[in-house]
């Protein structure tokens, strides 16, 4: 479904070029839960940006559902980001001057896939257990609640691939587990998830695991079959 081949991203550091992403190839099948760990600065966010079509690679190609990124116009790539990929960016990723409800339904402004945007947003908020916060503004929410808002927004257009960049950093263990359960249930419904984390707890989730180091992506040892099957949530 999703295939990246030979991705490289070159940046300049003190005038000298270096590869933030160095020859990364990865393929993601339907309903897979992939987990990438790695030290800070190893190029994880850079890689996710490229995969999400936010930033063009220096070289390499991405094919998503048969379409090559390099052959797509900005408008088409933006439509893919809006419709097929949900991207939860690293760090604070909600609009603090819009309500939770507006944040979640923001994708509707760019791509009108749902006739009832409010209904869809409220449904997602309900699924994530934060319906009651619909009219609040993000500054009054806790870190876990803000993450849920971001997740709800990423799911707004029912993406085929959910990309999450450290979705559980600065969350306590309990909240981390809840968020992971949300991801598992998303995966259970056939959505693929690609998650970056350096949270050891979160890293134990995922059906396939990778480690990133200095721009190079390497497979970690195969995950053992997990005891509990994921509970469908959404």
């Amino acid at each position: 479904m999703f295939e990246a081949i030979g991705l490289k991203k070159e940046y300049k550091r003190d005038g000298a070029p270096f590869l933030a992403v160095n020859d990364v190839s990865i393929s993601i099948g339907k309903g897979e839960f992939i987990c990438v760990t790695g030290r800070s600065g190893s190029g994880k966010s850079t890689l996710l940006n490229i995969l999400a079509g936010m930033s063009p690679p220096t070289s390499g190609e991405i094919v998503f559902q048969g379409r090559k990124y390099s052959s797509l116009k900005d408008r088409e790539l933006s439509a893919i980001r809006g419709a097929k990929i949900g991207y939860i960016m690293q760090g604070m990723c909600v609009f603090s001057n819009f309500t939770v409800l507006q944040n979640v339904s923001m994708p509707h402004f760019f791509n009108k896939f749902h006739s009832d945007a409010e209904g869809r947003a409220r449904f997602l908020l309900d699924q994530l257990g934060i319906e009651r916060l619909a009219r609040q503004y993000p500054p009054s929410l806790s870190g876990g609640e803000i993450r849920r808002v971001a997740i709800a927004r990423a799911l707004f257009n029912s993406p085929d691939l959910l990309i999450a960049d450290e979705p559980t950093s600065d969350l306590d263990d309990e909240t981390t587990k809840e968020i992971m359960r949300v991801f598992e249930s998303i995966v259970g419904q056939g959505t693929s998830v690609l998650m970056v984390t350096h949270d050891a707890g979160a890293a134990s989730f995922g059906s396939r695991r990778y480690v990133m180091d200095s721009g190079v992506l390497a497979s970690a040892e195969k995950n053992q079959a997990r005891g509990k099957p994921p509970v469908p949530l959404i």
Partner: protein, 406 residues
């Protein structure tokens, strides 16, 4: 903003303004100042242009004869409301009329009234001879000029008096029998009466303790029209040949040359105003461009987020342009509104301060001027944000995630 989830373009563009109220207020104020200056300058330039235009088109005389040394005082009377009074010997009417090539010579008698009760500007009283006049008559709408006599007066369009009403000068009442059309010249702040009435007014003035150099039969100036087919220069030459070039105590002003010099002075002034306004416009554009370019680079993360949920580069650019458009729109509305508030009630006062009673564009023209400066100052926002808008679309979102130094 609506609290519902269906965001409009306006909501998204507006949210940034709400987040930075101080900055937005300053930028709106800047745009307001711009549109205020644009409207004000445009009104002034319009009045000037109209004055120059009317003057050259409609001052019927070919030659004006005034006491030598008073050539520039004529400018004051014709162009601004700068009342003055000067006198020459009445014999000159006969002398000039007899010169070859002179078709009509019509005398005028000037009384400078300082502050008449009627008027916010000092009024010029002009006595003219309705029988020979060809300068004032065309401006009096329908009424036959010859029917003006006794204490009848004709008022300029800037003088507040009703036709049929009365006005008092030097403790004598006059009947307003007609009103001049707008001339766009000093005539607008002038009161016209017969020469006899004006001489009597000068007498009233002296009786009240004023000083006047006029003799009982003085005249101030003579307006000359040359015969059909005769060159103005030739007739001037004839006059000068007959009565001597210097020492005669009179000066000849060739109207066209005078008008041309005044008109070129006015167009220089208009050019200056327009240049100044263009500079202000460009400066406002630069300030807005800098302000928006700064916010764009400090908002890389926000733009990255918008990109991640499907915003195209074009849409981002449109959002940035809409933001600055909102700023300049509100600024333009406020500035033009304030200009209207200032100019409309005070335009007579402003005109008098500028000594240009005619610099009062009629309301429909004002509306047009306001609309034009509204549009121009509104346009400054989107134009200024063109480059910041492109920056917003162009940014490499990779660095966005890291906090965005670009």
């Amino acid at each position: 903003m609506n609290a519902g989830p269906c965001l409009s373009f306006y909501d998204i563009a507006m949210s940034n303004q709400r987040q930075r109220p101080f900055r937005s207020t300053c930028l709106v104020a800047l745009a307001a100042v711009l549109s205020f200056m644009l409207s004000g300058g445009a009104i002034l330039a319009y009045g000037l242009a109209e004055g120059a235009d009317n003057l050259s088109k409609r001052l019927g005389a070919d030659i004006m004869i005034v006491p030598s040394g008073y050539e520039s005082a004529v400018t004051g009377i014709l162009l601004r409301s700068e009342p003055s009074a000067f006198y020459i010997d009445p014999d000159w009417i006969g002398k000039i009329s007899s010169v070859d090539g002179v078709s009509v010579a019509s005398p005028q008698f000037l009384v400078a009234s300082l502050n008449a009760g009627c008027c916010s500007v000092p009024v010029q009283i002009v006595g003219y001879d309705p029988r020979t006049d060809f300068v004032i008559g065309p401006w009096i709408g329908t009424r036959a000029p010859s029917s003006i006599y006794g204490t009848d007066i004709v008022v300029g369009s800037a003088i507040t008096a009703e036709v049929g009403g009365k006005l008092k000068f030097f403790e004598r009442e006059y009947d307003v029998v007609a009103r001049l059309d707008r001339t766009g010249m000093g005539f607008d702040a002038t009161v016209f009466m017969t020469i006899d009435a004006a001489r009597r007014a000068a007498g009233d003035f002296v009786r009240m303790g004023g000083h006047s150099a006029a003799r009982a039969d003085s005249i101030s100036s003579i307006f000359v029209r040359v015969s059909e087919g005769r060159a103005v220069e030739d007739v001037m030459y004839n006059i000068q040949k007959k009565y001597g070039f210097g020492g005669s105590g009179i000066a000849l002003v060739q109207t066209r040359r005078f008008v041309d010099s005044v008109a070129s002075g006015i167009s220089a002034l208009i050019f200056f105003i327009v240049a100044l306004e263009s500079i202000i416009w460009v400066m406002a554009a630069f300030v807005l461009a800098i302000a928006f370019s700064l916010t764009v680079s400090e908002r890389q993360r926000e733009f990255g987020l918008l990109r991640s949920i499907g915003a195209t580069k074009t849409k981002l650019a449109a959002i940035v342009m809409a933001e600055s458009g909102i700023v300049s729109f509100y600024g333009a509305i406020i500035g033009t509104f304030l200009a209207g508030l200032t100019v409309l009630p005070f335009r007579i006062y402003i005109a008098s301060v500028l000594k240009m009673p005619y610099a009062q564009a009629p309301i429909d023209r004002l509306a047009l001027i306001f609309l034009a400066s509204l549009l121009l100052s509104f346009a400054v926002g989107p134009v200024a944000s063109l480059i910041p808008a492109l920056q917003a679309g162009r940014s490499d979102v990779c660095s966005v995630i890291r906090g965005g130094e670009l």
